[in-house]
Amino acid sequence: MAATVTHSPAEVHVHDEHGHDEHAHGNFWTTYIFSEDHKVIAKQFLITGMIWALIGGILSVLFRLQLGFPEANLSWLKPLLGGWLTAEGKIDPEFYLALVTMHGTIMVFFVLTAGLSGTFSNFLIPLQVGARDMASGFMNMLSYWFFFLSSVVMLTSLFISTGPAAGGWTIYPPLSALPQAISGSGLGMTLWLVSMALFIVSSLLGSINYITTVINLRTKGMTFTKLPLTIWAFFFTAIIGILAFPVLFGAALLLIFDRSFGTSFYLSDIYIGGEALPNQGGSPILFQHLFWFLGHPEVYIVLLPALGLSSEIIATNSRKPIFGYKAMVGSMMFIAILSFVVWAHHMFVTGMNPFLGSIFTLLTLIIAVPSAVKIFNYVTTLWKGNLIFTPAMLFSIGLVSFFLTGGITGLFLGNSAVDIQLHDTYFVVAHFHLVMGSASFFGMMAGVYHWFPKMFGRMMDNRLGYIHFWLTFIGVYLVFFPMHYIGIAGFPRRYYTWTTFETFSGFADLNMLVSIAAIITLSAQFIFIFNFVYAIFRGKKAPANPWNSNTLEWTTPRLPGHGNWPGEIPTVYRWPYDYSKPGAKDDFIPQNVPYSETPESNFPFENEQIKLELGNNGAIVVENKKH
C-alpha cells in the first residue's frame, strides 16, 4: 500500500484539480444567497444570529425597564410597542411574560445554538480538518434555509395581535396548551411550535453534516488525536444535537396534538371558570421529562462550541501547547454523556420521589468534575505563557471566568434540598446567565474576533475590541451578580411586579442597578457592530496567518475561494499545539510541517515516528524539488 507520490507541504502546486477554482462562478444569487459553500453559509448564520442577538437584547432591556423602574412612564416607547402599553404607559403584564419568553427562546436557540454552532461549525470544520467543503453542500444550504424560515415564523409571531408565545422558553403545559390561559398561548404558541419544528429540522441537517464531515473528510494524516479541540467540541455538540433534538420534536408534537386535536397527553383535571375541560388522563410532568431530556443537553450544545473556540484561542495567544489535550477531549466526552442523565435536576420540586432526587443530585454534582478539569486546564495553559491580549483572548478569558462563577452556583442548585428554596428564583437566572448565556456569548465573540481575518480578509480594530470587552465584561457581572442576592432572598423569576410585596421592596435599588447595567451592556454591543461592519469594508487587510497559528485554516490564502486551497489540500503531520517548542526556529509550527523538516525541535519519540513511518509502509519517497 505504499504511496508513490508525496508532496512536501511547503510547496504549492501550480496544477489544480478541476472542480474547484479560486472564484466561484455564478451570479449573485448562487454566490451569496443560495450558496452551497460552507464559508458563505457560515456568514449567513453569523449575520442572522447577530440580528437575532440584537432583537433578543432589546427585548431584555424592555422587561428590565419594567423591573428596574416600575413607576416609570414608558409612553415614549409607544411607536415601538403600540397597544402593548397600558393607558398609564406601563408594559402590559401579559406582554411582559411574552417578552421574557421570546428573549429566552431567541437567545438559547436562535443565537447561541444556530448563531454559534451554525457559524463556527460550518466555517471551521472543513477548514480545520482539511476538506474542500462539507460532506453535502446541498444539505448544508437546506439547513440554513430551514433556519431562515424558522426565523421568519418566529419573527412574525412578535407582531401578531394576540402576541407571541408567553409560557416561558420551556413552554410548560397546561399554560402553553390552553389559549384560555394567556393570550400568547393562542396563535403565538402555534407559530412558536411551527418555528421550532423547522428549527429542529435545520439543526439535524446541520449536525448530520458536521459529524459526517469530521469522520469522513479529514485530510491525509489528520488522525483523531491531531484534531484541534474546536473540532472535537463541534463533533460532540453535533452528536448531542442528533440525540436530543428529536426528543424535543416528540415533546412538541404531543403538545401540538393536545392543542389542536384534543388529545390529553399533558392535560388532566383542569377547570376553567368552574367548568371542567374534557381532557382526562394526561400528565404535565411528562412534558417536563421530555423537555428537559432535550433541555439539559441543549445547554451543553450551547456551551461546548464556545469552550472549543476558547481552547484554540487561549493556546494560540498563550504561545503554549494546550495543557492536557487528552483530558480536554475526555472531559468534553464525559460532559456530553453525563448531560443525558441529569435532566431531572430541573424538576426537583415536581414532587418526585426523594430517593430519585438524591440520585439526580449525585449525577448532577459529578458534572462538576469534568467542568473543573477544563477550568484547571485553561488556567494551566495560561500559566507562564507569553500572553498576547488580543480581544479574542480577553473574551476567552472572560468565558473561563463566567464558566467558573456560574458553575459554582450550579453546585448549590444541584442539591435537591437546597434547590427547594432556590428553584424558580433569580438565583437560577443568575446561574444560567453566567454559565450558559455569558460564557457562550463570550465564546462566540472571541470566535468572531479571532476568525474575522479568515472570514472577511480584514482585521477588526483592536482598540474598539478592548472597549467592547471591558464594558461587556463589567456590565455582565453587574447585571447578574446582584441577582444571586435577590434570588437567595426568594424573589421569584418571571414576576411582572414585586412592589406590592413588602418583603421585596428593599431590592428596588439593586434592581435599578441591574437594569442600568443591562442598558449599558447592550449599548456596548453597538461598538462591536460598528467595528464589525466597518472592518468588513474598510478594515486593514489581513495577512494569511495573523495570529501565527498552527491549524490548517491559516494555510489558506487571505480569502479562501471555493474549495479552500488553491492547490492540493495540505497533509497533516503533527498536532495543532506545537507552540514555543524548545529548539524550534519560530514559536509555532503549523500542522502541515513534517517532522523531517524540524530536526532541531523534534523530541526523541518524534524522530522515532519518522523512522517508524518510513519502516512500516516503505513510504520513503524521493521527490524532485524545484528551486
Partner: protein, 193 residues
Amino acid sequence: MTSEFRIVEEPKQPLAMNAKKFAMWLFLVSVGMLFAAFSSAYIVRQAEGNWVDFSLPSLFYYTTAIIVLSGISMQWAYFAAKKDEFGKVKTLVGITAVLGIAFLVGQVIGWRQLTESSIYLVGNPSGSFVYILTGLHGAHLIGGIVFLIIVLISAFQMKIHSKNLLQIELCVTYWHFLGGLWIYLFVFLILNR
C-alpha cells in the same frame, strides 16, 4: 533549477466510509431517538396510572407479515441489482412498493378497528399513543415509498447496476429500518398493555 532529493514521510488517508451512507445512518439514529422518546414517555405515563386497557387491532398481525415480506423482496431486489439482473430489480422494487402501500392501507383499516372498539385519538392517552406511534411510523413509511418510487424510476433508466449500487443500498437500509421499527413498536405495544 537544481534537483534535490527530499525524504518526506507519508501520512495515511484516515479511514472513511461513504459520506451519504454515513449520513443515512445518522438520520436513522435521530429517527430512532424520536421513537425512543415516545417509548419512554409511554412507559412513564403508564406508570402513573389512569390507563385504559384495550386490545390491539388483529389487523396489525397481518400488516406485520406484509412488512416482513416487503423486507424480503427489497433484499432480493438488492441481490438482483448486484448481479445486474435488471428485469428482476424492477419487478422486486415494484413489489416492495406495492407491499408498502398495502401495509399502509392495513394500518388505516387497523385504526378503523380501533374506533370500532371505541378507542379514538382523542381520549385516554393509552389510545392516543397507539395512534401517534403508528401514525408517525406510517409518515416515515410514506417517505420510504417515495424513495422506492425514485429507485424504481432509476431502475427503468438502467441506472442501477453492480457498479452503481449506492442509491439502492440507501433505500434497502431505510426500508429495513422501517420494518425493524414496526416490529419493535408492535412488540413494545403488546408487552406494555
